[in-house]
Amino acid sequence: MTMKRETFFLKIVACSLLRRHSKLLTAILAVAAGAAIVSGLTTIYYDIPRQMGREFRSYGANLLFAPAGDRAALTADEAGKAALFLPADAVVGVAAYRYNTIRINEQPFMAAGAALAEVQKTSPYWLVRGGWPRAGQEALIGQEVADITRLVPGSAFTAVFTDRQGKSSEHAFTVSGVLQTGGTEEAFVFMSLPDFENMAGAGGFDIVECSVSLPGADIEKLAARINEEIPGLAARPVRRVTESETVVLTRLQALVYLVTVVVLLLTMISVATTMLAAVAERRREIGLKKALGAPSASIVAEFLSESLLLGGLGGLLGGIFGFLFAQMISANVFGRPLSFPLLLLPFTVAASVLVTGAASALPAKSAARVEPAIVLRGE
């Protein structure tokens, strides 16, 4: 019964890996540790824009829809159509606002009507003392309005609305909360859209604020497309927000990239030294094989396939651990699960095989140089 040469080759390689537990373990550990760190870092690298992008949404809206040219307002239809251009999974919130002047105690203020649930999403930085309006005829007043009118959460006030024909109507409201932003919003009175329409009648929107979790370049492209497709509507990226996001994300990515490269290098050195040590320790065995008539090519092949198998195994292990490690970071830092690019696993395995192969090339070469004579006595 003869056995195929290839089969026996695989048997030697497999046995050398399987029957040398501790050595195998250290080598696999070295590869797996490197692969885990590198694949984890790569996952994070690709996920940073998505994850940090969400954080950047605490800056508020990064895209505005306004009526173009001399038009006074956007129709609900136009706003809805434009919003359809935004990728659903990236939209954090879309808040459409209507503005009109009202009077409280004969002093003029700006009233804003909006879907307040969306406002809470687009403007997460608003600090509200009291609460957001829940029932009808409740209003959120800015700090400045509160200072001037001396209204506090819970107090009632009457808003006087004057329409274009000069006809005034009175509307009773309760203050649900006082808003602090440090910005112009502090001079506004916010109310739900139905309450606003009840007062000012139906009408178009003055401005639509969108908070979209997309990188700056994509926002610019999106705005250009919307401007082209919907005449009469001007989509404007809020550049202060988008650019600051782009710069910080680029920096963070570059940082993670650099770290990844260094860890990769360290892994390579570590694997190469482990393999070199393995060669040193197995010089006698190599010498014996050569004494038995093994050609150098055969020794190199055995050694390389051994390390490639190691690389594959370590890479697989490392890829899985790397994902867990990235998942852990993501859960800890962002409090959100990670999208794991499945393609990364075969990529990690391939990369580890490649790195181990490259790192073993030198040791394998030095293995081939071992003199068969060392197996004889006296050496």
Partner: protein
């Protein structure tokens, strides 16, 4: 007919003359022992006969081929085809079973053949220990595996380096018995040894001193 002819061979390492103008012929089927104190050139002699080193000058005809003129790769091929090596330290690959250790030699030679490898182990009385790892075998058993491995490719020459150096008396006897059997079957055997007991078993003994053949003794049976 001579299987090995060494003519005027010298080997110089830097300023050290390991072998100086050595002449030696070995008949087919002969059992030769090489003796000598440390530093006499025994190891160098073995290296040259085992095709692991080349002489600085002179000719070494193994089965009619002058190995002094061959390249490294060709030497490997000659060693594989013509020589069976037996070591003092046995040198079994510790992660392969006894059977697989024998098959390694087949593998580098031509084709691994389990049945034939088993037969070779049976010849040295180890058929039932074939699936054991070297760590599970005694020293004597390991040496017998080593002998089986040396025999597997029907070498023209069996070269043994102090084959009983690491064995107790009982196992020494077992190994020498195998050698006698091989000799009866017509194998050519060269044993390098310190041990006069082992050397006495050979037909002819040469003694190296300072890189020269100092003495030649023919043992009467």
């Amino acid at each position: 007919m001579h299987i090995l002819e060494i003519e005027g061979v010298s080997k110089i390492y830097g300023s050290v003359k390991a072998l100086q103008n050595v002449n030696l012929s070995v008949r087919k089927g002969e059992w030769l022992a090489i003796m000598g104190p440390s530093g006499s050139g025994k190891t160098t002699m073995m290296n040259i006969i085992g095709c692991m080193d080349k002489p600085s000058s002179g000719a070494v005809l193994l089965d009619g081929v002058d190995i002094a003129k061959e390249s490294g790769g060709a030497l490997t091929a000659i060693r594989r085809d013509k020589i069976g090596l037996i070591f003092q330290q046995f040198h079994l690959i510790n992660y392969l079973t006894a059977l697989e250790n024998v098959m390694v030699a087949q593998y580098y030679h031509s084709m691994p053949d389990e049945e034939e490898a088993l037969k070779a182990l049976a010849r040295v009385g180890l058929a039932e220990r074939a699936r054991h790892l070297p760590g599970q075998l005694s020293g004597g058993e390991q040496q017998r595996v080593c002998i089986a491995r040396a025999l597997i490719n029907y070498p023209a020459l069996i070269l043994a380096d102090e084959p009983t150096g690491n064995l107790d008396e009982v196992n020494e006897g077992v190994v020498l018995d195998i050698f006698r059997k091989l000799h009866r079957e017509g194998s050519t055997i060269i044993v390098v040894t310190h041990d006069p007991e082992v050397a006495r078993e050979a037909e002819r003994v040469i003694v190296l001193e300072h890189g020269r053949v100092a003495k030649e003794v023919l043992n009467k049976k």
